[in-house]
Structures are given as C-alpha cells and as structure tokens.
C-alpha cells in the first residue's frame, strides 16, 4: 500500500498505488530546458568577440539583468512543466480508481471509476522505445459507459494491470461477503 492519502478518501479506503506518467514523457521539456538554459552563458562567452562595443559597462550590466530575468521565467517554465507532470496522477485504491488530469495551471479534471464496474482491462507497450524504457498504456472499460479510462505512458503497465485485477477480484469478493460497499464521500480532490 502506498503511504499517501488524498482529500475525499473514504473511511477504510486504502491507497494501493499512485501512478504518474513515466519521466520519458517529460523528454520534450527536459531537452528544451537543456538547450535554452546555457544560452545566456554562451552569449556572454562568445559575445565579446563579435560585439566588443556592446560588452562594456553599463550595457554588460543591463545584459546581466536581462539574463537573470530570463532565468526567472525559465524557472517558471520548469515548474509549470513539473506541475503538469506531477499532478497528472492515477490513484488506485481498494475501492476505486481516480484519474487526475492536470492540463496546465488552471485546467484540472478528476474522474472516478469504481473497481467493481471494470469490465475489461488492457495493457499495451507500444513500440521499441516503450519496451526498452519500460512504459506503456493501460485502458479500462467500465460497465455501462462507452468512454474508456486510460492511463497513458505509465511505467510498468503489465504489473499495474495485474495489481488492478487483484484489487478488482478482492473488491468483488468483498461485495459477495458484505454486500454493497459503503459510499461515504467527504469531499474530493
């Protein structure tokens, strides 16, 4: 069981897994930052050879100020990317699956699927890179709903699918023994 809790967690509900996308999904941001971050240093290293009249005080001091402001906004860019990655979460508990979809800062969707409503679960490892790096997609088909619940680019998709199947079996057994599970909602994410 994962040692985390979330707002709206039911009494007796335990978090089994918290899944985030594989870090490979951040590759675009990582490469972008690695390419952009050294730009001011390169400019200050190479600039004096090409623009010697610009690289004198006080212009050089102004350029340093502009470079620092550039890093302030690069830092914001990095954090917006981190939030996009870190809050795109799937929380799997012994009762349900919560999908938190963070799209930029002010766009957030939370969906919920009861484990007992799962009808079909599929894991997919799409291609060579996914096989080598170890990530894939999991899709869940729920009863009575056409829309599929999808975990995209998650690490260890096969193992995760097995865990969900185990939790589903336990939930079904639990219902057979105790009847319908209690649904006490104390808020939400």
């Amino acid at each position: 069981m994962a040692n985390v809790s979330f707002p709206g967690q039911h009494t007796g509900e335990n978090v089994a897994l918290v899944i985030r996308r594989h870090p490979i999904s951040m590759l675009f941001y990582i490469v972008s930052v690695c390419l952009i971050a050294p730009a001011p240093f390169i400019f200050f290293a190479v600039g004096p050879y090409f623009l010697p009249t610009v690289f004198v005080s006080p212009i050089i001091d102004l350029l340093i100020l502009i470079a620092i402001i550039f890093y302030l906004f690069l830092w914001v860019f990095v954090y917006v990317a981190i939030i996009d990655y870190y809050f795109d979460t799937w929380i799997i508990t012994n009762e349900r699956i919560l999908e938190v979809d963070q799209k930029r800062l002010f766009n957030r969707t939370v969906s919920e699927l009861k484990l007992i409503k799962i009808q079909d679960i599929t894991s997919e490892v799409p291609g060579i890179i996914a096989t080598l790096v170890g990530y894939g997609n999991i899709s869940l088909q729920s009863a009575g709903e056409m829309e599929r619940f999808e975990f995209k680019q998650v690490p260890h998709p096969v193992e995760t699918r097995k865990i969900i199947v185990d939790l589903y079996n336990k939930a079904v057994k639990n219902i057979a023994v105790t009847g319908t599970p209690a649904e006490k909602d104390s808020g939400g994410l």
Partner: protein, 77 residues
C-alpha cells in the same frame, strides 16, 4: 532614471501571479505524503534567490551613463 525601474518591475509583476498560482497548486492539490509541499518550498526559495540577484544586478547598473547607451549600441552595428 525612474522609468528604468520598469525593466525590473514589469517582469516581477508578470512573475508574481504565476508564481503564486504555482505555489497555490502545489500546496492545495498535492497528496498527503507526497513531495508537493517540498516542491513548493524549493520554488519559493529559488525564486527569491533569483529575484534578489535581479535586484542586485539592477542596483549595480549606473543608470546615469545610459544617455550614451543608445549611441554606443547603435555604433556596435
């Protein structure tokens, strides 16, 4: 001279609401037991450090010399 402060103020005024939104998200939507609060603290500390550096860089500039700035800059090209 006074208008030069806008070079620093405008970026800071753009940064502050975005920074506040980032900290708000990390503190409000993080799960109990994950690293979101640590991430928020790191964000605040590093942002403050960069802002202090920016203020120091601003204060270091001799703005009185900037009458010659345009002339020097245009001569460079």
């Amino acid at each position: 001279m006074t208008l030069y402060i806008l070079i620093l103020l405008i970026p800071l005024l753009i940064f502050l609401p975005i920074g506040a939104a980032i900290v708000y998200h990390l503190r409000k939507y993080g799960l109990e037991g994950d690293s979101s609060k640590k991430l928020a603290t790191i964000f605040i500390i590093v942002s403050l450090a960069i802002i202090i550096l920016a203020i120091a860089a601003y204060l270091r500039i001799d703005w009185t010399k900037f009458d010659t700035f345009t002339f020097t800059f245009s001569n460079a090209f």
